[in-house]
């Protein structure tokens, strides 16, 4: 019995593990998102979280700092990325890479993966060299590529799109694992396949190498590492006490050269191995954990223990409050489409139903009313200037309109969430498409859309929906959808996947032609 108690005591989670778990739960307090299969869309997402947590995770209640940074840089053609830079500086100055050690859910996952009992690869010259890779990734994928494309007003969050395993795991897998999102499977293609393989490779690396993603690939860690020398909270060395014996560095599993350098995640494991008790965890001059506390007189120690208990109680109350607040049952949204019947067909968002009628203001003047175009195939595209695939597929719609002007009516409707000067954006291109604005978000909701863009709807000449899906479409796909609508068929399946065969008429390899600088964009009539 005593042996068992001893074993349990030896395997109890550390304070750090509890804080990591706490942070992961707090960041993902919108637990009902995992049941409803949708993300949280409340106002707390205005705040960036300190740790790495994809904002497309159904549980996330805040914004991912890295995703926000890339998007801010991608929008820097029109607006300097002040807010995100300021927030990152604030986090870096206050906590530095203590965030990686204590407040990052991805760090927690990596440490759990590393607990799988296999032979482990220790640190060495190779890992030390690889630890510089994250700085290259930061420079190229997070800064340079989004900035270059910002000049073309094309948002490209390159790290999210090509590398980020967190987005794949928390966002894509998190959403797809819910049966509600069954239709989203039709969007998957080469991008998912590639990112899934990257995710698995990183997971395997984390099993064998301690915090492999954090050490070699994570650009957020690279950013916080820049604040190593000035971070307020973290592991500090009392230099006069230090004998430079190197036991701390030898014990550490990260690629540190010194305690507290840019690779140090301030986990505090070195505190106990220091023979001269020179290392402690401090906030400024106040010792949070270290030999000074252990050596303090009993009343002092009691006070520290009481403070810690109070801090935990407060933290747990916050977590409980967050869990209650974010998971309160909400009133089911009223069906925006009235129960009506057109031509013996019910009006709705599904394929085979009559499309709900709408009127939207058009940039350049006038209005677009769906029912006025009965007798022709109508393609409705929901897009936004801040949506990468939306911007990328606009030329395909323009091309289709140019080639089939007599057969099809196309309208590109901007989401009600306007962060950019849409007219200014459109003035940069010579699209012939009519662009409109879904002012209240009612139109996209009536077609079953909500948080995912782009969305394309094809309505045949009789006003019946033949295709309604979220995801990018290619020119070839659009032509095939048009043909299906003309022959009166519903598109067999929603397959907005990139085609394997290049289509000569489409021009996806070039940016759309820019209009002369003097050309003014049309104004929106309200």
């Amino acid at each position: 019995m005593g042996k068992m108690i001893g074993w349990i005591k030896a395997h109890l989670p550390t304070q750090r593990r509890l804080i990591q778990l706490y942070a992961a739960l707090l960041y993902n307090a919108h637990a009902k998102g995992f049941i409803t299969g949708n993300i949280y869309t409340g106002s707390s997402k205005i705040l960036c979280l300190p740790g790495f947590n994809c904002y497309s995770c159904p549980g996330a209640i805040g914004a991912c700092p890295l995703g926000a940074l890339q998007n801010a840089l991608a929008a820097s053609g029109t607006r300097a990325p002040m807010y995100v830079l300021g927030i990152l500086m604030l986090f870096g100055l206050t906590l530095g890479r203590t965030i990686c050690g204590f407040l990052c859910p991805v760090g927690l996952l990596q440490e759990w993966l590393h607990k799988i009992p296999t032979p482990k690869l220790g640190k060495g010259r190779v890992t030390r060299v690889l630890s510089w890779l994250k700085y290259i990734i930061l420079a190229v994928f997070v800064v340079i590529i989004p900035l270059w494309y910002a000049l073309q007003r094309y948002p490209v969050p390159a790290f999210c799109k090509y590398i980020c395993p967190v987005g794949t795991f928390e966002g894509a897998v998190g959403l797809l694992s819910n049966p509600v999102n069954e239709d989203k499977f039709s969007m998957l293609g080469i991008l998912f396949t590639r990112k899934f393989v990257i995710l698995i490779a990183i997971v395997v690396a984390c099993v064998f190498v301690y915090r492999a993603f954090c050490r070699f690939l994570c650009p957020l860690g690279a950013i916080y590492g820049l604040f190593a020398k000035v971070a307020f909270i973290g592991v500090k060395v009392d230099v006069p006490k230090c004998t430079d014996c190197g036991r701390c560095v030898g014990h550490c599993r990260m690629d540190v050269k010194r305690v507290g350098d840019h690779e140090c995640i301030h986990c505090g494991e070195c505190i106990d191995v220091c023979p001269t008790k020179a290392i402690s965890f401090k906030a400024g001059r106040y010792v949070l954990h270290g030999p000074q506390i252990d050596a303090a007189p009993a009343p002092e120690q009691k006070k520290v223990r009481r403070n810690r208990r109070l801090a935990w109680i407060a933290a747990l109350l916050v977590l409980a409050g967050a869990l209650v607040y974010y998971n309160l049952p909400t009133e089911p949204a009223a069906d925006p489409v009235p129960e009506t019947v057109v031509n013996d067909l019910p009006v709705g968002k599904e394929v085979g139903m009559a499309a709900p009628d709408f009127t939207v203001p058009v940039y350049g003047g006038g209005e677009f009313t769906l029912s006025e175009h009965r007798g022709k195939v109508v393609i409705v595209n929901f897009w936004a200037t801040w949506c990468t695939p939306c911007c990328q597929e606009l030329p395909h719609f323009d091309e289709l309109l140019a080639n089939h002007a007599d057969e099809v009516v196309i309208v590109a409707i901007h989401s009600e969430l306007v962060t950019d000067d849409v007219e200014g954006y459109l003035a940069g291109f010579d699209y012939q498409l009519p662009f409109a604005l879904d002012e209240s978000g009612e139109v996209i909701t009536s077609f079953g859309g909500s948080t995912m863009l782009p969305q394309t709807i094809v309505i045949n000449a009789d006003g019946v929906i033949t295709y309604n899906a979220v995801g990018s479409v290619t020119y070839a796909r659009l032509e095939s959808l048009l043909k299906a609508a003309q022959t009166g068929e519903a598109a067999a399946e929603a397959t907005p996947e990139a085609t394997a065969t290049p289509v000569p008429t489409a021009t996806p390899t070039q940016a759309p032609t820019r209009a002369p600088a003097t050309q003014r964009g049309p104004g929106l009539t309200r």
């Binding site: 997402k45 960036c48 994809c54 904002y55 914004a63 995703g67 801010a72 607006r79 300097a80 002040m82 300021g86 604030l90 100055l93 009992p117 032979p119 010259r125 060299v129 510089w132 890779l133 190229v140 340079i144 590529i145 094309y154 490209v156 390159a158 999210c160 799109k161 966002g171 959403l175 499977f185 969007m187 991008l191 998912f192 590639r194 899934f196 393989v197 490779a201 997971v203 000035v230 006069p240 004998t243 430079d244 014996c245 036991r247 030898g250 990468t388 695939p389 990328q392 969430l417 948080t451 863009l453 979220v470 995801g471 397959t495 907005p496 996947e497 085609t499 394997a500 070039q510 759309p512």
Partner: protein, 253 residues
């Protein structure tokens, strides 16, 4: 039990790799099947979706047995491991640490040790030159806006990898070689210092660094940035991106 543990760990490692390969293989196989000629129409458009929930579910079911075996293996290894006496991790000391420690106790550096110091400085100068060259060569591509004009990001990324990855690899290799050469130099210098007259080392002195001043300045800058960001609409940008799902950004497509 002690003898069994390395075997169990080895088996878990093999199963980890095997399961990962199976997962990747299934994923790639679904993609290949979806892009087979029979699933493409004349225009190259998919007739049926590449991925479906049913297909993915069925493929995952085929991995149920290996996954079960893997879980059992992990449990068994963890159980055996937990019964073993916990070994205190050895605090390994690098040659650089050992040298630093020795140097503090040596009254006067011998010529051989001084030579090693010069050698290491030269190694890092040479490495810095190689790194500068690599950065310049990669920069030629990365800082040329005409390389980032196409909206076909697959092509852009391919080109970027072709032009930048080799230089990044050379840079990392140069650092590796330099580290290796320096470690050898540290060891040689340690040998040279053996048997030298020792003195009691002085307590280490903290290098003056105005952290408090710098921190205060940067805090002020951060707050100014945040206020400006709120004023210029950056805050709303973050919200809009966070409450919508960019399907490509999370790998959906």
């Amino acid at each position: 039990m002690t003898r069994l543990l390395p075997w169990l760990r080895g088996a878990t490692a093999v199963m980890t790799l095997l399961l990962a390969l199976l997962l990747c293989w299934q994923c790639i196989d679904i993609y290949a099947d979806g892009n087979a000629a029979e699933n493409l129409d004349a225009g190259g458009v998919h007739i049926a979706p590449v991925y479906t929930r049913e297909d993915v579910g069925a493929r995952l079911m085929t991995l149920a047995i290996p996954a079960g075996v893997y879980a059992l293996l992990i449990a068994a290894t963890a159980l055996v491991q937990s019964r073993e006496p916990q070994q205190a991790e050895k605090a390994g000391m690098t040659a650089e640490n050992r040298l630093r420690l020795m140097k503090r106790r040596v009254a006067e550096l011998p010529a051989a040790a001084a030579h090693e110091e010069v050698l290491r400085r030269n190694i890092w100068i040479a490495t810095a030159a190689v790194l500068t060259l690599c950065a310049a060569m990669a920069g030629l591509f990365l800082l040329n806006g005409s390389n980032f004009v196409s909206w076909d990001l697959e092509v852009v990324m391919g080109e970027m990898l072709r032009h930048v990855a080799p230089w990044a690899a050379v840079a990392l290799l140069a650092v590796y070689v330099a580290l290796r050469a320096c470690d050898a130099s540290f060891t040689r210098e340690c040998e040279a210092l053996k048997g030298q007259a020792t003195v009691k080392p002085d307590p280490m002195q903290e290098k003056p660094f105005p952290a408090d001043v710098l921190r205060a300045d940067l805090y002020a800058a951060a707050i100014v940035f945040i206020v400006l960001g709120v004023m210029n609409g950056g805050l709303y940008d973050v919200l809009v991106k966070a409450i919508n799902i960019c399907t490509e950004c999370i790998g959906l497509g």
